[in-house]
């Protein structure tokens, strides 16, 4: 299955952050990617859908005081998640192969 652009970005963000991949950090990284701030609600919805599709798994860390005594939910890619990313990358590469006349070089 091919990922949508935002799914792709989210999975990559989770992958990059490794053991630090929880809501606040993911949201920050997404802001770096896109320049836009996501609401926590929207972020949660996306992560939850990816978990339901079993592209992500998650576990709870120990509670920390600056979080009002709440745990972090730390996300990780599943094998399916990794495969989906690789597949998406391949498809993208093949789409972009030999594209001329867009002015890609100048940009």
């Amino acid at each position: 299955m091919i990922l949508t652009r935002s799914e792709e970005m989210l999975l990559l963000a989770v992958h990059r952050l490794q053991h630090d991949a929880y809501g606040v950090k993911i949201r920050l990284l997404m802001k770096e990617f896109t320049g836009k701030e996501m609401a926590f609600g929207a972020l949660f919805v996306q992560l939850d859908r990816l978990s339901q599709k079993e592209l992500l798994k998650s576990y709870l860390s120990d509670p920390t005081p600056e979080r009002g005594g709440r745990s972090k939910r730390i996300y990780q890619l599943t094998t399916e998640g990794k495969q989906a990313l690789i597949r998406t990358k391949k498809v993208q590469d093949s789409i972009w192969e030999n594209v001329n006349g867009l002015g890609l070089d100048k940009a």
């Binding site: 809501g23 609401a39 926590f40 609600g41 939850d48 859908r49 009002g68 939910r73």
Partner: protein, 881 residues
């Protein structure tokens, strides 16, 4: 560390917990908390709270859509079923939709009204840094009076002495110079809504200029900036810039230097033109002396501060300022205060001489809000009650869903999507209804409410919120009961609602009727009180009285001749001149009065009018003892007639011949009491009759300002034409201006009349909603009891017995509601009546009347179903089993 300050707003945290599906672990709540703490440490607590609030609202929408994500298909199925049920159950749907529409439409209007009220003066970009000076005047009786006027010295001295005060602007309105006539060519206009001010006006406030440069106008004397309405009035479509308007008051001609937009309707300052104050400040003018006197309060002074916090702290510093600049009066008998602009609209109810457009007490907004909430709740109750009944008939459908694998959440989702579905429908219909009735409402309340304005985003947000709120509240009760039921019991052939369900349903009906009965009670009380005011004997004649203003020296000096010529008109039976009339719409002159020879500190403030010898018989005021003015200017000028309240406040037992002293502007005048009149209500009935001293027209305290004519109302328009001709003969400069006294007096109660209309319509709506609910429940009960009634009939019950049997239960509920509602209504309305000095007492008859009205209304509502049930042929109803 767990400190309170570091917590996000609790209610929103709760909302997040409600909506995020990973409720148990709260990791997302934690994420938001972490970000909140971060913002708190960088941008401060307020920014953090604001961010949190925004974030919650931004998050709710995706989370809500997510919660139905697991199957758009399923969701569409729910909507489909909701629609089928909606179209099948016509009565139910009609009741629900009508009730919710009425409730939502009223709350939308109330919401618009409230938003408008809360937006007052906020168009000013420096809103939170502006304050105005309030003077507190200490009176001899230990009480204080407050008014927003101060000396011309205060503003500029404050700017000089306190660095945090950046700018000041002084404003003078008609309270100082009165109205004047503005003339262009032949066209004359009485101008009452002008302000005289300084260039800083445009630097402090954000009024929009259409033509002309804000920073260049009002510097020179005799300049005027017109609002677009008055530019239209004087110049039509011509270009007014550079044109000259003539005035008959101190500054002569004024040149138009700019045109500005009309002040917005939510501005406490309303005006038609701005005249440069420098017009008055010529080197030696009397006014220059007045302005530089610390003891004369004639200016409305607004200050601009460098920050909100320095404005907040400033009131404390004014004490020092008072002491530093103390004179005999300033700082001793008066003290200065500062009022923040945000408090001007709601916080000025105690201020006198306050030209504060639209000012009202915040309580009015609260009461309206509560009424709106109750109406919506009542509509939600209808939905809950009817849909519980309906769901028990549909139990099998839910049972089947559960059997094929629906979990509890999905059952809840179905119930809520149905209730939200109908609430969306109702919101759509009510938005239509609101747009239909809004013009009438605006017209009536003198507002300009539209949904689409600066606030439209907030408004649509709130509409969305209402939709969800109504849907959730309505759905919560059926959801609560149905989700508790076991699948097996859902699948049973017929499901009877349990005991707890019917208790809750019944208490909701009681609640509805409590609300309606309180509203009926309020309606009756308000009606009675307004009637009482209308018919109360004020102590003088208000009917058939024509009051003509004296606006010029010619009219005042020739009053004897004008009076005689007025009297020559056959329709006029009597004429008098006076400085004020009973029931006057302008402020009465205030004088300081004490017994003769007493110290100034014994002075008591009293009202004063001066009159001629025909005043008493024209107004038909009755004399208590002594004599009245004889019409001899030489003798009468040192004599006064007083009302009984004067005797009470000065402790005089034998008034006739008694000498009292009047202090005005530092001079003491001894005057002799020659007569006592009955107390008459010279002000509105909101106020008690105060002490009133009546002097002769040539007394030094005031000058005549009105002709009052007792006229025959037949052919009144012809009479007015003739009177106008008389007036023009003597006074060519000013237009003939007249009022009917009874119409002016009615204006005192306009606000009460408007309040009563709002209460009436609110109570009508709440009664309607409650009746709809009762009707729905009755039809449901009729359905349930069809067999029981059939059997009763077979066994020989008569139709009347059936009707009684059927209605008994409902009437019981209404009776319980009555017991709760009447003390409540009594309490609220007693408080409302406190606002009147002359008020009715709430009597047994009112209690009885509202009880009978509520019961009658419910009997009529039920009777349709009751009679229908009793007319049923038992053969039809018992045949099938």
């Amino acid at each position: 560390m767990k400190s309170k300050r570091n917590r996000p707003p609790l209610i929103f945290e709760w909302l997040v917990k409600m909506f995020f599906p990973d409720r148990g672990s709260y990791s997302t709540v934690g994420d938001m908390h972490e970000q909140y703490s971060y913002i708190n440490s960088t941008d401060g607590l307020f920014a953090a709270k604001w961010w949190y609030t925004k974030e919650v609202f931004k998050s709710i929408i995706p989370l809500f859509t997510h919660s139905i994500y697991w199957g758009i298909e399923m969701f569409l199925n729910y909507i489909k079923l909701a629609w089928r049920n909606f179209t099948r159950q016509k009565t139910n749907s009609f009741i629900n939709l009508t009730g919710l529409t009425l409730g939502i439409a009223s709350s939308i209007i109330i919401l618009l009204f409230t938003l408008d009220e809360l937006s007052f003066d906020k168009f000013n970009s420096k809103y939170d840094r502006i304050g105005r000076i309030i003077t507190e005047e200490f009176q001899n009786n230990g009480e204080s009076r407050f008014y927003p006027l101060t000396s011309g010295m205060v503003g500029k001295t404050l700017v000089q002495e306190y660095p945090e005060v950046e700018k000041h602007v002084n404003i003078i309105d008609r309270d100082v110079f009165g109205r004047f006539v503005v003339q262009r060519g032949e066209f004359q206009h009485h101008e009452a809504d002008y302000l005289m001010t300084e260039p800083a006006f445009f630097e402090i406030f954000d009024y929009e200029m259409l033509i002309g440069n804000k920073s260049k106008v009002l510097h020179e004397p005799n300049e005027v900036v017109l609002t677009s309405t008055s530019a239209q009035l004087f110049f039509g479509d011509e270009d007014p810039i550079g044109e000259v308007l003539q005035t008959n008051r101190p500054f002569g001609n004024v040149k138009v230097v700019g045109v500005m937009n009309d002040p917005p309707g939510n501005s406490h300052l309303q005006f038609s033109m701005l005249i440069s104050m420098s017009s008055l400040l010529t080197d030696n003018s009397n006014f220059t002396r007045i302005v530089s006197n610390w003891d004369i309060s004639s200016m409305r002074t607004y200050l601009l501060f460098n920050s909100e916090s320095s404005l907040n702290r400033f009131d404390g510093k004014l004490k020092q300022f008072d002491e530093k600049h103390a004179t005999d009066v300033f700082g001793v008998k008066e003290s200065a205060h500062i009022q923040k602009m945000e408090n001007i609209h709601f916080g000025s109810t105690n201020y006198e001489i306050d030209r504060n457009y639209g000012a009202r007490s915040i309580n009015a907004v609260y009461i309206l809000g509560i009424i709106g909430l109750f109406i919506v709740l009542s509509a939600c109750i209808n939905y809950s009650n009817l849909s519980i009944a309906r769901y028990f008939n549909r139990a099998k459908e839910i049972g089947v869903r559960k059997v094929v694998g629906a979990n509890k959440q999905q059952v809840l989702a179905q119930i809520f999507s149905e209730s939200v579905f109908i609430s969306v429908l109702a919101v759509l219909v009510s938005v239509g209804v609101v747009y239909l009735v809004l013009p009438t409402f605006n017209n009536y309340l003198d507002k300009n409410l539209t949904g689409i304005s600066d606030n439209s985003l907030l408004f649509f947000g709130l509409i969305f919120f209402i939709t969800l709120f109504v849907g959730m509240i309505s759905g919560s009760l059926p959801a609560f009961f149905l989700s508790k039921l076991k699948t097996v019991s859902l699948m049973r052939l017929k499901l009877m609602p349990g005991n707890s369900v019917s208790v809750i349903k019944k208490s909701l009906v009681v609640l509805q009727f409590v609300i309606s009965t309180v509203m009926i009670f309020a309606t009756i009380t308000v009606y009675n009180q307004l009637n009482f005011i209308k018919n109360k004997d004020l102590g003088f004649d208000q009917g058939q009285m024509l009051v003509v203003d004296i606006n010029s020296r010619e009219s005042r000096n020739n009053f004897q001749s004008i009076k005689n010529e007025f009297l020559n008109n056959p329709a006029v039976s009597s004429v008098t001149v006076s400085s004020r009339v009973p029931g006057d719409w302008k402020d009465f002159r205030e004088i300081q009065v004490a017994n003769f020879g007493q110290h100034e500190s014994e002075n008591i403030q009293m009202n004063f009018i001066c009159v001629d010898e025909d005043f008493l018989n024209t107004f038909n005021i009755s004399m208590r003892e002594g004599s009245y003015f004889k019409g001899n200017p030489g003798l009468d000028s040192t004599k006064v007639v007083v009302n009984r309240e004067v005797l009470r406040s000065l402790n005089i037992s034998e008034p006739i011949g008694k000498i009292i002293q009047v202090t005005r502007r530092g001079n003491v005048y001894p005057v002799e009491i020659i007569g006592v009149v009955d107390d008459f209500n010279f002000r509105s009935l909101h106020q008690k009759v105060g002490p009133m001293v009546i002097g002769y027209y040539n007394s030094p305290f005031d000058a005549i300002d009105y002709y009052s004519l007792k006229v025959n109302m037949a052919g009144i328009s012809e009479t007015i034409k003739q009177l106008k001709a008389v007036h023009e003969k003597f006074d060519k400069g000013t237009p003939f201006e007249y009022n009917f006294l009874d119409e002016k007096i009615a204006e005192f109660y306009q606000r009460d009349v408007k309040e009563s209309t709002i209460i009436n319509s609110a109570s009508l709506i709440s009664i309607l909603i409650a009746c709809l609910g009762l009707f729905g429940l009755a039809s449901y009960t009729a359905q349930q009891k069809v067999k029981e009634i059939g059997i009763r009939k077979v066994l020989g019950a008569r139709d009347t017995e059936i009707v009684v049997f059927f209605s008994k239960g409902f009437l019981m509920l209404v009776a319980i509601a009555m017991l709760i509602a009447i003390p409540l209504g009594y309490h609220f309305m007693d408080q409302w009546l406190e606002g009147f000095a002359y008020r009715i007492d709430i009597g047994f008859s009112q209690v009885l009347f509202s009880a009978v009205a509520a019961i009658l209304i419910s009997v009529i509502t039920i009777s349709y179903q009751a009679i229908k049930a009793s007319n049923n042929n038992p053969v039809d109803s018992i045949r099938a089993e």
